[in-house]
Amino acid sequence: MQVDYQLIIVGGGPAGLAAGLYAARGRIKALLIEKGATGGQVLLTDWVDNYPGFAEGVSGFELMDKMTAHVDRFELEKKFAMVSGLDLQEEIKTISLENGDQLTCRSVILCTGARPRALNVPGEKELTGQGVSYCATCDGPFYRGQNIAVVGGGNTAIQEALHLTKFAARVTVIHRRDELRATKILQEKAFANKQIDFLWNAQVQAIEGDDNGVNQLQIAYNDGTTTTLAVTGIFVLVGVVPNNEILPLNQLHTDAAGFIITNTEMETSIPGVYAAGDIRSKNFRQIINAAGEGANAELSAEQYLAGLK
């Protein structure tokens, strides 16, 4: 039976682009579907200092522009559309698009990624865009000379806290533990930065504001004492949740948090279906991991396709 593609890659972040690069070079009839612009969550990142080969560092924007240019050089077919559903269980997989179109293929690589996790505290939803932000590189310039907070203690939180000191007068990092998880070089930079201070063992209980947006945070320390912090902005950088809403979760094995479980060759529980990047169940979510997994997933898919012949 005829299919539209041998391989469809869903999602155009670093994992999807790496998979696409390998597919294009492997002369696989492949399609990459992306809902917005290629780049994924890296587009939320101000600066990337840990991608090998970029010795001087690179902006998240430029890195993803280069990855996109790389797949374009090998003429990977790309489509900008929203996927509304996937039927993966049969040998021929069907991917439905939001405009009603259906595409068939023999193998699929799921690279739908993840998005920032919310705190789920009172005021957060109401004040999103009015002082509550999940993207420091987008919204930092609106806080020139102001006092703001960053919630989180990982690489993303500390990298972006440092970025925000270019704009804000003072950045208070609120972290629920007494030490940071961020890599040591970022910790050293943050501790040396006089514009950054820390609230340790502390959690945001509520975000308060008025018509002008956020003006105060209610904070509880782990010992039960409470305090308030006057800020006009709060950047929530406390990890990610999976973009799995479009995925057939009744067909795929996932972990408790909803990330897709694969083996070391990126195979999911369904033959011919692979997952790579932040959507995959794993400990560490890094750009280089995502790219490596994308390449691995595509090579696995190629092997699977060869076996079908």
Binding site: G36, L43, F80, E98, T128, Q130, C135, C138, D139, G233
Partner: protein
Amino acid sequence: MASDKVLHVTDGEFDDTVVGNNLPCLVDFWAPWCGPCKAIGPVIDELADEFDGKIVIAKMNVDDNPATPGKFGIRAIPTLILFKSGEVVDKVTGAVGKPQLVELINKAL
């Protein structure tokens, strides 16, 4: 593909182009350094083509035009504000999907 139907408005043109327009107007407040703004760019172009003649789709660069975003209390981008007869009908913040933007636009049609 970038649509030639998308208007690029400045602070100086805002009152005439958006507030005074007979058609409803969706304004995308964006900046060149904002990744998610870039991400919704293709969707904005598609909407401009699909709703041509029914609604004006405009973009305002907040770097070059600080007055209008200040007036509307914009502190995050992308923010999209829907205007009808000069009044704010509704707004959304962040790189939302096309179905959500179509739903937003339908509130003014």
